[in-house]
């Protein structure tokens, strides 16, 4: 019996040390990941309306037959998220549920936009995605006015009609970066990093005059 206890104790020690090694290795890997994977924002094109500009109200005919207005001062004081998608864009399909859940969580008015293809194709697409409750606009002019070149593309217009952020969005992180950009007032990740570096330098100068 004492032998068995000794052996079991030795085995347990080995296990404890191996486990501690594993924990340390995992923690280091998480640390390395944080160093390598910088946060990513939406890719923002330089063409089209500029972020911070007031948008002109545009009245558009939705697929369901109702007229909706995008841009200008919003009557219900909600920000509007417009997401350009297309039946032929595989990435869009995955992003639609994300956009829906995000719009609900953030209290945004969600508008889908698209162009090309036949109306039947768009109607089938809307049924397929289960987004009948949201306005779906088929308009080439609307896309051109916002310089949409690649899908999925999104813009965020605040309650006062000011374009607060825009960009090519491929993931939930990109979409969230649009809302974050509106809330923080920082236009892009590049601007944020530049801001942070300038502040770091300023604080360094402050501490070591």
């Amino acid at each position: 019996m004492p032998d068995a206890l000794l052996i079991s104790n030795a085995v347990l020690w080995c296990v404890v040390i191996v486990l501690a090694l594993v924990v340390l290795a995992l923690a280091r890997q998480v640390g390395v990941l944080h160093e390598r994977v910088a946060p990513a924002g939406a890719l923002m094109p330089t063409s089209g309306p500029k972020v911070g500009e007031r948008t002109q109200p545009a009245t558009l005919r939705a697929l369901a037959g109702t007229d909706i207005t995008v841009g200008g001062v919003s009557p219900d004081r909600r920000a509007t998220l417009v997401l350009w998608i297309s039946p032929t864009c595989p990435l869009c399909r995955g992003l639609v549920p994300t956009a829906v859940s995000m719009a609900r969580a953030e209290g945004l008015r969600l508008v889908f936009a698209s162009d090309g293809d036949s109306l039947e194709q768009h109607q089938a697409y809307v049924r397929d995605l289960g987004i009948e409750e949201f306005p779906y606009v088929v308009s080439q002019a609307f896309g051109i006015s916002h310089a949409v070149s690649k899908l999925p593309f999104a813009i965020l217009v605040d309650a006062d009609g000011v374009l607060r952020s825009k960009g090519l969005v491929n993931t939930r992180e990109h979409l969230e970066s649009l809302v974050l950009s509106m809330e923080s007032g920082v236009r892009s990740l590049q601007e944020y990093v530049g801001l942070a570096e300038r502040q770091d330098e300023a604080s360094l100068r402050g501490q070591h005059p």
Binding site: V23, A27, G31, E35
Partner: protein
């Protein structure tokens, strides 16, 4: 009364920790001077001498613990040193100055940035003070056999690994917090 094995494990672990800490501070002296300066608790002229003195005190205490000579005097000194570090960090945290390096980094240089202050570091120092108190308690008389020495060695390895793991987790936590925290 505490078992002599537990007492020895704690004494050796504390001794090693103090020696490693002293070695890190001496190896990266400029960084440590800058970190100490950032704490803004010492008059400007005394930062450099204190930056010399602290690692020397740590090394001396570490050697005492390793040699098994750390009785009440050395234990009291170690406890006070750790309490002073904890107080310095707590004061700066209360002032909202979390953004300074803690000057306690192990491998901090490898990951680029120094570990910023956090309440976890204060908690860590309080736990270390508890270890000092335990190690300073009188131990019962028991002759240690071969198996006890093996346990001692393995326990030291396990403690060292867990300590490094905890430090790494604190650094990760700080990195995540830095993303979330708006830079004021």
């Amino acid at each position: 009364m505490i078992d002599p094995l537990a007492s020895r494990v704690l004494a050796l672990a504390l001794g090693l920790l103090l020696l490693v800490a002293a070695w890190h501070k001496l190896a990266a002296r400029d960084a440590f001077v800058a970190a100490l300066d950032d704490y803004r608790l010492l008059p400007a002229g005394s930062v450099r001498p204190v930056a010399w003195l602290l690692p020397v005190i740590e090394a001396a205490l570490g050697l005492l613990w390793l040699a098994g000579l750390a009785r009440s005097g050395a234990a009291l000194a170690t406890g006070l040193l750790l309490a002073a570090y904890a107080a310095a960090m707590a004061i700066n945290l209360r002032l909202g100055r979390w953004n300074i390096g803690c000057g306690c980094g192990f491998g901090g240089a490898a990951s680029g940035r120094e570990q910023p202050l956090s309440w976890w570091l204060v908690l860590r120092n309080l736990l270390l003070i508890a270890a000092v108190v335990l190690a300073a308690l009188p131990s019962s008389q028991r002759t240690l056999g071969a198996y006890d020495w093996l346990t001692l060695a393995l326990a030291l390895v396990a403690l060292a690994l867990l300590y490094s793991g905890a430090s790494q987790l604190m650094r990760n936590g700080a990195a995540i917090a830095a993303w979330r925290k708006p830079r004021a």
